[in-house]
């Protein structure tokens, strides 16, 4: 290309737009889970006793532990953003990695929790589960689908934060251009807040 004005592509940076786009996306995520919360409410209303019995089979201790882990990871995520704003790159990377470690811890707990259920024969389509009353089938169906989709979000979040760490190392994310990290943080807080609703609905209300 000879003339410069053809090769110069329009570089457009608008943090407000990025933030707006991210919030709108989070909105769609909330609604996605909202559909499942509707299912939960209706089925709980229709089968109060079965839901009561089924919820007793969940391990509240692991659930509480996981809640604490996720809340802490939200804190470390926020700290990593503050660190990069104060131009402390290595501290930001440190907090991002801590967030990833906590997220992995959450998944490990989840693995053991699901594993225990599976070994008791409680999983979708199992004879054990299908012999239970309809309300319990629904409860565990919702339990697996909702915590499963949430777990998928945690995994995506881990990938996303690791990508942000890479960007931070490569100086794509800097103290005056940290919108990407902030968006990843917003996403992570969403994952957190959905858990905040899942936890009482499945573990605490019995």
């Amino acid at each position: 290309m000879s003339s410069s004005e053809h090769t110069v592509t329009h570089v457009h940076r608008d943090d407000v737009a990025s933030r707006m786009g991210m919030w709108l996306f989070l909105f769609t995520e909330l609604l996605l889970f909202g559909g499942m919360f509707i299912l939960y409410s209706v089925y709980r209303y229709n089968n109060p006793d079965a839901f009561h019995l089924a919820a007793k089979e969940l391990n509240t201790i692991i659930g509480t532990f996981n809640t604490a882990i996720l809340l802490t990871s939200s804190l470390t995520m926020a700290l990593s953003i503050t660190a990069i704003q104060r131009n402390n790159k290595s501290l930001s990377i440190f907090f991002q990695l801590i967030t990833v470690v906590l997220a992995l811890g959450f998944m490990v707990n989840k693995y053991f929790e699901w594993g225990a259920k599976f070994s008791h024969g409680i999983y979708p389509g199992s004879d054990e589960l299908l012999s239970k009353p309809a309300g319990e089938i629904l409860f565990f169906g919702l339990y697996y689908v909702m915590t499963g989709l949430h777990g998928l979000h945690v995994l995506i979040g881990i990938g996303l934060i690791l990508l942000m760490t890479y960007y931070t190392v490569k100086d794509v994310i800097t103290h005056d251009n940290y919108m990407k990290l902030e968006s990843a943080g917003l996403y992570w807080h969403l994952v957190d807040i959905i858990w905040i609703f899942l936890f009482p609905l499945f573990y605490l209300i019995t």
């Binding site: 003339s3 004005e5 329009h10 769609t28 609604l31 559909g35 499942m36 309809a134 169906g141 919702l142």
Partner: protein
């Protein structure tokens, strides 16, 4: 710039980082993405029309005419899935929204160009998955496009793949919506306040909100059905304690607002075209703008009228019946304002306006029959009859489809820098218009007389209506294919147009080069007044010239 007289090349000839085909497939230019969408949409539309034609052929006479019942079930499902998810929902926003939304608000591109391209890829992947589901063993889905439980968890056809296709297409739609909302908020040209935006922007903006708010619900619902099929999770299937009507609610919470995703952009196009060809300032700008928002709002609250006969308390029935009638008000406001704009105008009856007038005529029929179905007693009578099919096609095809054709003929010279043969286009219009009405109007009558929708076979007394209807399809389909043929031909070989303002329009796309340059504007224009200002049927230019 040292070379002021150097003419910028058009977006069609622009050479960026990639050349040739890759220059299109990897382009983040909203105009090129619009064209990509146009091409892929036309391909899927052709497939959808062919399936529709097959349905009509089969129904020509009672009993088996050309295909067996299972194939028939698969074909009406595919017709629905393709037309809804691959044509009318993306339809106008994906093609004309992408191409013209940034230009109309005086921006160089949308807010997130890369996500914009991603949305096209998701669209293509979703489309290919839907096509794959047809070809794979197991056979194409035969549930109808609504995927109603429990049949959709029990049938052995490739429903899961079709569900997944719809889920991915939903993502594509969400990305487009998200992009448009942010673009409208952030990238309007200086001086373009909310109430100086062209009316199509109001439509695209309201549509985008529905896309964002409603699509996730269908996404999760279809995903849950897929889970239920795959893992036998108890969610909706009554055998596992689920509630099929709850599925219907979740399905329609999206799918009813979705019909406003389909119709609103077409209404925007109508509001754009009428003042230009009537040479009059649009009547009731604020009302038309606000009615788009009102439709988006009320349209989200009427979904349960699809389940009036499925089991619902009479209180809910009354509320949803009332809300259904309320949503007709903003639609009627639009129709009255359009007609009032035409009144005493200096009408230039060009092809785009012909399609728009057909839109008003057919949309009014489709809309009023929709209000009829909102009436509880009538709904019981016409539920699941071809009356519904006729109503739906009058709104979606007679409305959105004709709006799409109007937009194609209106913006064609700007998009391709070439002109079609107006005489030929006008004759084709009459074929499309007559064919459409001959095809669908008999369905109102036979539906009223009791002909059920989706049935493979029927009693002999309905045959006369089916014959007329099928005869209509023989006028309609060749006319549409003729239109596609000449549009492709003239896009490549038509007489060149270099004039900026082809029709005498006031909005920004007519103030820039034909076809537009790579980033639309060399300098972002400043907007000083409302769009569509005409005095004594003459155009009043209100924009500072975009050089």
């Amino acid at each position: 710039m040292n070379n002021q007289n150097h003419k910028e090349v058009s977006y069609l000839e622009y050479q960026g980082k990639h050349k040739g085909l890759l220059g299109w497939l990897l382009s983040t230019d909203h105009k090129r993405i619009g064209i990509l969408y146009l091409i892929s949409l036309m391909i899927f539309l052709t497939v959808g029309i062919s399936f529709g034609l097959l349905i009509r052929l089969e129904l020509l006479s009672p009993g088996k005419t050309i295909i067996d019942p299972q194939t028939y079930n698969a074909i009406f499902t595919l017709h629905g899935v393709i037309m809804i998810f691959l044509f009318v929902i993306p339809g106008l926003p994906a093609v004309f929204g992408n191409f013209f939304l940034p230009i109309l608000i005086g921006a160089k591109d949308v807010a997130f160009p890369k996500w914009n391209l991603t949305s096209w890829y998701l669209y293509v992947i979703g489309g290919l998955l839907a096509i794959t589901a047809i070809l794979l063993p197991g056979g194409p889905a035969d549930t109808g496009w609504t995927f109603y439980i429990p049949y959709s968890v029990r049938t052995s056809t490739n429903v899961t793949l079709a569900l997944f296709a719809a889920f991915i297409l939903g993502f594509s739609s969400i990305l487009t919506g998200l992009n448009f909302i942010t673009t409208v908020h952030r990238l309007r040209a200086p001086g373009m306040t909310w109430f100086k935006m062209p009316l199509s922007i109001w439509s695209f903006y309201s549509t985008a909100w529905i896309q964002i708010l409603a699509t996730p619900i269908i996404g999760i619902t279809l995903l849950l059905v897929a889970f239920e099929r795959f893992f036998k999770v108890g969610l909706f299937d009554p055998a596992l304690g689920g509630d099929p009507i709850l599925y219907q609610h979740l399905f329609w919470i999206y799918s009813h607002p979705a019909v406003y995703i389909m119709i609103l952009p077409a209404m925007g196009v109508v509001s754009e075209i009428i003042p230009v060809f009537a040479r009059r300032t649009i009547f009731g700008y604020n009302f038309i703008a606000m009615s788009s928002v009102a439709i988006a709002l009320f349209g989200s609250l009427v979904w349960a009228h699809h389940m009036f006969t499925a089991g619902m308390s009479s209180t809910s029935q009354l509320i949803f019946s009332l809300l259904t009638m309320i949503v007709a008000i903003p639609s009627a406001i639009k129709v009255f304002n359009w007609v009032a704009t035409l009144y005493k105008g200096s009408i230039d009856l060009q092809v785009p306006l012909l399609y728009v007038l057909a839109f008003i005529f057919q949309f009014t029929i489709g809309g009023l029959t929709g209000v009829m179905q909102g009436v509880l007693s009538i709904d019981i009578h016409v539920h699941d009859t071809s009356f519904i099919v006729a109503h739906f096609h009058y709104v979606m095809f007679g409305g959105t489809g004709f709006g799409f054709f109007a937009a194609l003929h209106y913006w064609f010279p700007k998009m391709f820098g070439r002109m079609y043969n107006k005489k030929l286009a006008e004759r084709t219009f009459w074929g499309v218009f007559v064919g459409f009405n001959v095809l669908y109007f008999p369905m109102f009558i036979m539906g009223w007389l009791g002909m059920p929708r989706r049935y493979y076979d029927y009693l002999p007394e309905y045959q006369i209506y089916h014959m007329i209807s099928t005869f209509g399809s023989w006028i309609l389909v060749p006319s549409i294919f003729l239109m596609f043929g000449y549009l492709i031909y003239y896009a490549l070989k038509g007489a060149k147009v270099t004039e900026k303002n082809v029709w005498g329009g006031e909005t920004l796309e007519w103030q820039i080069d034909t076809p537009p340059i790579h980033e639309n504007f060399i300098e972002i224009p400043t907007v000083s007044d409302k769009p569509y200002e005409y005095k004594s049927n003459e155009l009043v230019t209100q924009f500072s010239e975009a050089k």
